[in-house]
Amino acid sequence: MFTSAQLHLARTFLLIFLRDRQSIAFSLLFPLIFMGAFVFSSGDNDPIKIGLINNSDSALSKNFSELVSKDPLFEITEGDEAMLRKELILGNQTAVVLIPPDFGSKNESNELTLLLDLSQVRQLASIRDAVDKSLLSIEREIRSMEPMFSLNIEDIKARPQRYIDFLLPGLLAFMLMNLSIGGSGFNIVEYRRRGILKRLFVTPIEPKDFIVSIVLARMVIVLMQISVILSLSILILDITIVGSLVSLYGMVMLGTFIFLCIGFSLGSLAKTQEAIRPIVGLVTFPQLILSGVFFPISSMPEIVQPIVSALPLSVVVTGLRDIANDGVSLFSLNGTALGIFIWMILSFILATRFFVWKEVAK
């Protein structure tokens, strides 16, 4: 299927990559940083910092302050009003609860005041709910009432799905895009500038041998890098890949093919090493933001959704996510499979169209 020249050249490209420790480190760094952020922030949310000003000496206020201090949702600091107001302004406290002096009457409704910095109002709803909930349970305890309702939350997907599970396929897709475009586009411009391409074409290899070798080498490189990230995610972050790994890797290879072709076109388009960077940036950065790597495309304005979801990275992200999160197999992807197919054809035509051999060898 492959000639020994193609295989040896591919092996050489692989060897060059493996000896380039720095670029291996950097290509792994980006996804690792993102995932690392989730290792440290995973688990329970930080308790909300609440200051408590108790101006009442009633048993009820004491009871309230004890109960609320036990609640793991809060980190309570008791103090006088002047100090806590200052802390609230400084941002050391999220909210301050003020218990008035007349607090403690069991017959009439007791009123608490919640002091807030309105610019931090984002958390108001959750703080309010949490305080309400605490008050309710205190009330029940004091009045010795059993709760009338209890809410049981059941996940209909019946499997754990966290943001990191959503994020991982996006990061994988972004990583394979960078590795592929970098490996084809940047390399071609660099090899051409330094006369290395010309030296290669002194020998009786054909342009297609060169392309086949780069594609082979990059496929292996992408699969290796993806496997590192994937194993780390499964081992450390306990990520579940719902679909089959075969489908996932199949999708990765199709995506790699698309971005290698795009890279070849860009590499042929850019005449100099200085030009290739902005050109590649123009293609990759908007996709990082728009293609649903970090948040679903459906959360974007309706009007841009059809355009955005047609981007090559979007198609690959969606494909990977359907496989990893929803267990869809590679062959039943429908719309996404069509998108992948169209991009494969389109990018291949672009690559062969733009790839001027004489230009490359010069």
Partner: protein
């Protein structure tokens, strides 16, 4: 039959100032290079030397005329021609992070051959550098290494594009010796040069090119006799540099 034969070889490039017009970088030259000789192409910058070489090597399209290497038409079967020739380019950059012997093995594979990197490196006196990277070599060593790369397929014809440009006298003599040894092994060598001493001492025959044309061709001695027999001040006679300047003019070229 000559091993390299070219007739009416033509290369046209669009003019930089007017893309619709073109000029002939190589303007219909004829070449006949015999098997086993060292043939030097001399000429000022922009004379068309490298373009001529690249057309013979199958690296540049031939716009007119015919070039045959060992009877094979370069335009029709460029890959067949490439497999029987060795080429040293002016720029000698290689993939990073590969050693000399790894590069020689790679180039051998590109010809579908297993190359004996040790034998090739000892031929160019670089055996002790086998595991070095090309960018760790000196200018002369780099030049010898690029000749070694051009020898991986045991070529019938070896093309050298300015093999000694930028080398100090010792390194230059070293490369000449190497080229002589290759000639003694029966290889045909075609080289371009700016260096008159090189053309005079190394080449069996010289072709002088100017503005895309071959303006003179003969053995060094015959050219001296013909164009510079007795220079006014020189004790014996002029040298090939005088031949060169009298043919191409004294004005500075870029």
């Amino acid at each position: 039959m000559p091993i390299v034969q070219a007739s009416n070889l033509l290369k046209a490039y669009p003019l930089p100032e007017d893309k619709n017009k073109s000029f002939n970088a190589v303007d219909g030259i004829n070449l006949e290079i015999r098997s086993g000789e060292i043939y030097g192409i001399l000429g000022p910058n922009g004379a068309g030397k490298t373009t001529t070489l690249e057309m013979l090597e199958g690296l540049n399209d031939i716009d007119g005329g015919v070039a045959l290497i060992d009877g094979i038409d370069v335009s029709k079967e460029p890959y067949k021609v490439k497999s029987i020739i060795g080429v040293q380019l002016q720029s000698n950059e290689y993939f990073d992070r590969l050693s000399l012997s790894e590069l020689l093995v790679l180039f051998g594979k590109l010809y579908g051959q297993e190359s004996n990197s040790e034998a090739l490196l000892s031929k160019v006196n670089l055996l002790d550098k086998a595991s070095a990277k090309p960018d760790e070599l000196s200018g002369g060593q780099k030049q010898r290494f690029s000749i070694a790369c051009a020898l991986v397929n045991s070529p019938k014809v070896l093309f050298l594009d300015e093999p000694t440009t930028g080398l100090d006298p010792q390194a230059k003599r070293n490369v000449w010796k190497l080229i002589h040894n290759l000639k003694d092994s029966g290889m045909t060598i075609v080289l371009t040069t700016h260096n008159m001493e090189e053309a005079e001492n190394l080449c069996d025959r010289i072709g002088i090119m100017d503005k895309g044309n071959m303006i003179a061709e003969d053995t060094p001695q015959a050219l001296i006799n013909k164009f510079a027999p007795d220079p006014p001040q020189a004790p014996l006679q002029g040298n090939i540099e005088d031949v060169f300047l009298s043919l191409t003019g004294h004005s500075l070229r870029d």
